[in-house]
Amino acid sequence: MNTARKLLGTVAVIATLGVVAGCSSAGDPTPVRTTAAPGSVDLRMTVWTSNEAQLALFNGIADAYKKDHAEIGTITFESLPFADYNTTLTTQIAGGNAPDLAWMGDLSRDLITAGALVPLTETLKSTEGWDYDDLLQSVVGQFSDGDQLYAYPFSNSPFALYVNEDVLAQAGQTLPTNPTWEEVSEIGSAVHAATGKAGFVIRDFDYSGWNVLATVWTGWGAEAWNAEGTQCGFDSEKMADAFAFLHDAAFEKTSMPGPGAKADFFAGDSAFTIAQVSRAALLDGSFSYSVHPLPAGPVGEYSVLGQAGVGVLQSSPHVQEATDFLAYLTNPENAEQLAQFFPPPRQSLLTGEKLAANNPKLTAQQLQQVVVDQLPSAVPLPNHTRPAEIAQKVKTALDAMWTPDADVPAVLSSVCDSIDPLLSK
């Protein structure tokens, strides 16, 4: 009897091991390392998109992942409003209801500095087929600390010059090849005088979101602060020249809508706009358009990009499973799918033809010119720890700039006075 029991037990153990081994080898190339019980892991990822097609793609990838990972119960993508995304996310974290994974923009430095994100480099490098070296080095800086990557930069969208060709034709203007900022401003002024429409609009600026003005001042060789984030750059001569150009455009040449005036390029209200390439989705075909790299500044040609990353929060009760899912979500195959919505960080996917395959608004040549050729040298928008506090203090000080008789250098000096204490922390 005892012998029979032992034999039966041995057979059962061997059978169980065989089934487990079979499952592991037949499914995903990444070994299942979790010890969680089947269906016991529910993952939640916060995003700021509510685009149905994008959410459908995420859900499709999640469903495919669940098939090979029995421990996963549900994977939920929680859409939070973009305007309040940072506030909502931090409130969730503070309230003990943090998501397992989260999209992040300018909150990344705070999260990295606080140690709130899970280091990803080792996991991604050890994941078979992930190809870590495929990542473009110029786009990982915002989401890294030293050599350690803390968030995958899934969206890397350079800023570009959008042109309403119909408005230009109506005003009898022609845009030269490789235009400069001065030329754009001159044409904008002429368009405003001839048609009443706005000249150039820095999208999302609205005399409040000053960080997008980096798309202009970078052309003058200026920067908000030094690379270490310790020295204010607003009081430099280059920055003063850049703001003098903007001030002149708003109040003298009227080539840029003044404070309080609204003009939406995508509704046909202006000749030009500076916006991210991903905004091309807003082009509805109601006017003919073209897209170009940013106008050249006094220092020549340059490029600026806006980024978004996705990382795993340390507070997650399922760090291991969430990190594994992130590795799957961003592997080469899924990255190619994501590339239809977000310019990817992988060099292998960065060709005009590949990007154009899923982009109905821009041609392969345009995408090559405004995305692929720009990314290797692109400068990210200014980012720092305590982004909201710095943003508020700069905005408050810069408000004095937007009056006709503003003293540009004095205002810029006051900007540094207000943020120096924060930069030195």
């Binding site: 506030t87 931090t90 974290i93 705070d110 409040s208 404070p259 309080g260 609204k262 905005k395 000080a397």
Partner: protein, 320 residues
């Protein structure tokens, strides 16, 4: 020791009985206790509400104000009175308090003045009076965010208000981009939306003033001005006190108007204290300092309310 002896009240015999407790213990639920319990049950929902939504949050606010809370990691470090000391050295706070005083003062004066004026005008019988009352009260029921968004469009440089001004030959201004006009715009937006409440309260008070007092005054040849200041105003002074309290408290709580219209700008011209609290606690993630400022705001509200409550003895007239 012998057992107590009770006397038979019927006088037959005297008997020894076992010791017993006091007779009243068998009737614990006396009428008085039942009444007290009923009273406590009636106020229980309110007590729970005050505990959960006032006492506990204020207690937590005091706790947070004495801690440095890193919201990203959940770590909390006790720092004692550092946040309270920071209040004294905050370079932005004087500007914020100044904006709060201007905003609250403007709203209180305009709201009560206009509310009283409208009530007096609409306390007469004329054709269409109900329509006017409805018209002035209707903004009260509109969502504050929707109301403010519409005003935001109207107040743009190329918005509706400047368009109307231009049509009649008056040069407009960039209402929300200049400090003085931005504050004026925010105050007016708030007053126009909320004046209906005060108007209705004053209207009810005015209709409660006995008509014979006016008749007697007219017989005595009192002027309209005298009648208003000697009869009307004293008799509606309890309502004046009520409206003053709720308007001041409301003005100190105004948030959505600022957030939607100006985001506290330009500069700090319209950054009132409650908006500054929000910025510190939720935008800058400095929960500790935000809590300290919130407690300061609570102290202001309490102080002003107590002050008015004390001053009422001097200027509020109660018929009884």
């Amino acid at each position: 020791m012998t057992a107590p002896t009770l006397v038979d009240t019927r006088g037959a015999t005297s008997v020894d009985v076992a010791p017993r407790g006091p007779r009243t213990s068998t009737v614990f639920w006396t009428a008085a206790r039942r009444d007290a319990l009923t009273g406590y049950l009636f106020i229980l929902p309110q007590v729970i509400g005050v505990l959960v939504f006032v006492i506990v949050p204020v207690g937590l606010g005091v706790f947070y104000s004495m801690n440095d809370w890193n919201v990203f990691t959940g770590k909390m470090q006790f720092i004692g009175g550092e946040h309270y000391a920071a209040v004294l050295s905050d370079p932005q706070l004087p500007g914020v308090l100044s904006a709060t005083a201007v905003f609250s003062g403007g709203v209180v004066v305009l709201n009560i003045g206009l509310g009283l004026l409208l009530a007096v005008l609409l306390n007469r019988r004329f054709r269409g009076v109900t329509l006017f009352r409805t018209l002035f009260f209707s903004p009260v029921v509109v969502s504050v965010v929707a109301w403010t968004l519409v005003w935001g469009f109207l107040l743009q440089d190329n918005g509706g208000i400047n368009g109307v001004l231009e049509a009649i030959g008056i040069p407009g201004t960039n209402w929300l981009q200049q400090g003085s006009t931005a504050m004026l715009a925010v105050v007016v937006t708030q007053v126009v939306r909320s004046v209906g409440i005060n108007m209705i309260l004053f209207l009810a008070a005015l209709q409660g003033v006995p008509g014979e007092l006016y008749e007697a005054a007219r017989i005595d040849a009192a002027s309209s001005r005298t009648i208003f200041f000697r009869i009307t105003l004293p008799l509606i002074s309890p309502t004046l006190l009520l409206t003053a309290i709720i308007t001041i408290v409301g003005a100190l709580q105004a948030f959505a108007q600022i957030a939607v219209l100006t985001e506290g700008g330009p500069g700090l011209y319209t950054t009132v204290l409650v908006y500054y609290v929000y910025q510190q606690a939720f935008a800058f993630n400095d929960i500790g300092y935000g809590s300290t400022l919130a407690l300061m705001l609570l102290s202001f509200v309490l102080l002003l309310t107590l002050l008015q409550w004390q001053l009422r003895k001097k200027w509020v007239f109660y018929e009884n």
